[in-house]
């Protein structure tokens, strides 16, 4: 349907950027953007043009905290059927991953989406089924929609949903790195629209472009940021208008608002980020694993979790280093035997860098 693989156009954009003789640092927050950048070598092309683009905390699996993983491990050990997306089960907890537990005989299942987890609950009425609900605004409406359909009593969710805009604010406020422009995640934006990002351009004078996932989309996004910087008129520009409407997907937002309320939550590599998480509203307590099985996970509440030894995923998620700057990358940490989550998830920048190593 959409042909955006125009090689000539891509080269024209790159050569025009090169003529500008600039030195800028942009950040995006999406594993799929990172995949496009590295797969097509755009990161190299753009670096050559004076533009560095790094992936910030844009990988839901990567920003999930060790505590949340340990909660799932505790619930599995207490006899629940634990379900989640495939990448999540391979992320190492303090001692083990859910995958390790599975090999020990605990009932851990990967699902394509929450509806599959509800089906497992329906066909196992004598068991408790917990779905680890991970993901940004793209995924949260799917969780909310399933909850509104009154799943069976033996189903509940461990809510780990997080939201993007205030994480961006935090990373800017932390002031650890210079950000000249932000490329906003296309699929998060299909849900939330443009407005939730606008305060960033207004308060911090940072240009933003919502971009799609084809190489041309990203190059065009970069181009739009450059023009905004030249004109000193930062705003939220929508390059991905074929999928993102100004107000987002209002139907999905309504479903989300019925089920969730906003909360403060810790992200891996970050302190607690205000207004960046979602919890189930009290009306849905029966589906909240943390309330339903409070006694099973009570020991974790005040426990201080440690990151894996030598792992620099935290700095990577804050945009301070690139995968190859981590001494473990490709030495001790591999996709088959990962130490940190950024090497596990197909949206993690280490996993992506490793996957396309042969291209470089």
């Amino acid at each position: 349907m959409f042909s955006l693989n125009d090689n000539k156009l891509a080269h024209e954009i790159v050569s025009n950027i090169k003529k500008k003789k600039i030195n800028l640092k942009f950040m995006h927050v999406c594993g799929t953007h990172q995949d496009t950048l590295v797969k097509h070598g755009l990161d190299f092309f753009l670096k050559d043009c004076g533009i560095e683009i790094g992936q910030g905390p844009g990988c839901p699996v990567c920003v999930t905290t060790p505590k949340e993983i340990e909660e799932m491990i505790f619930l599995a050990k207490n006899g629940k059927i634990v379900t989640t997306f495939g990448d999540m089960i391979r992320v190492p907890g303090e001692k083990k991953s859910l995958q390790n537990l599975k090999t020990e005989g605990y009932d851990i299942r990967t699902v394509y989406g929450i509806e599959d987890a509800v089906l497992i609950a329906k066909s196992n009425p004598d068991k408790e089924i917990v779905f680890m609900a991970v993901g940004f605004e793209t995924t949260a409406p799917t969780t909310a929609s399933a909850i509104l359909k009154n799943p069976p009593e033996n189903f509940s969710i461990l809510c780990c949903h997080r939201t993007i805009p205030f994480a961006l604010k935090t990373i800017i406020d932390m002031g650890e790195l210079k950000i000249d422009g932000l490329i906003e995640p296309g699929h998060v934006s299909t849900i939330i629209g443009i407005e939730p990002y606008e305060f960033i351009s207004r308060e911090y004078n940072i240009p933003q472009v919502i971009a799609g996932f084809e190489p041309i989309d990203i190059l065009m996004g970069v181009w739009m940021l450059i023009i905004q910087i030249e004109q000193n008129s930062p705003f939220v520009q929508n390059e991905y208008s074929r999928a993102v409407k100004r107000d987002g997907n209002i139907k999905a937002q309504k479903v989300m608002n019925k089920v969730f309320e906003v909360c403060d939550v810790k992200w891996r590599g970050f302190p607690i980020i205000p207004k960046s998480g979602l919890v189930l509203k009290n009306d849905f307590d029966q589906y909240d694993s943390r309330k339903k099985f409070e006694d099973d996970i009570i020991d974790l509440q005040n426990y201080k979790f440690k990151e894996p030894k030598g792992c620099r995923c935290g700095e990577l998620l804050r945009g301070l280093i690139s995968p190859r700057e981590c001494p473990l990358f490709g030495v001790k940490c591999f996709p088959d035997n990962p130490i940190g989550p950024c090497m596990v998830s197909i949206e993690g920048s280490c996993n992506i860098e490793f996957k396309y190593l042969k291209n470089k």
Partner: protein
């Protein structure tokens, strides 16, 4: 192609070929021979529409006219540049 369980944020375009209003479900064709039942409770769609599918749900309708506009815009911006 496998639309596997690993993908948290990726959304894949597909064409709606059948709708079952009773349980908010529809069948999408991904254009490579793969068809799948999806949930359409988050969107308003009809047969023939293209949607982005994420974790078993259509999350938004794709707009063909906007896609063309984007391409036209790109070309226009570049021809402006070349004209300078």
């Amino acid at each position: 192609m496998i639309y596997n369980q690993k993908i948290v944020c990726l959304a894949i375009p597909g064409k709606i070929i059948k709708i079952d209003d009773k349980d908010d479900s529809a069948t999408v064709d991904y254009g490579d021979g793969t068809k799948r039942m999806i949930n359409i409770s988050l969107v308003d769609v009809k047969i023939g529409d293209y949607v982005l599918v994420h974790a078993g749900f259509a999350i938004e309708k794709l707009d063909e006219v906007e896609a063309q506009k984007t391409l036209d815009l790109f070309r226009e911006m570049l021809s402006d540049l070349e004209g300078k």
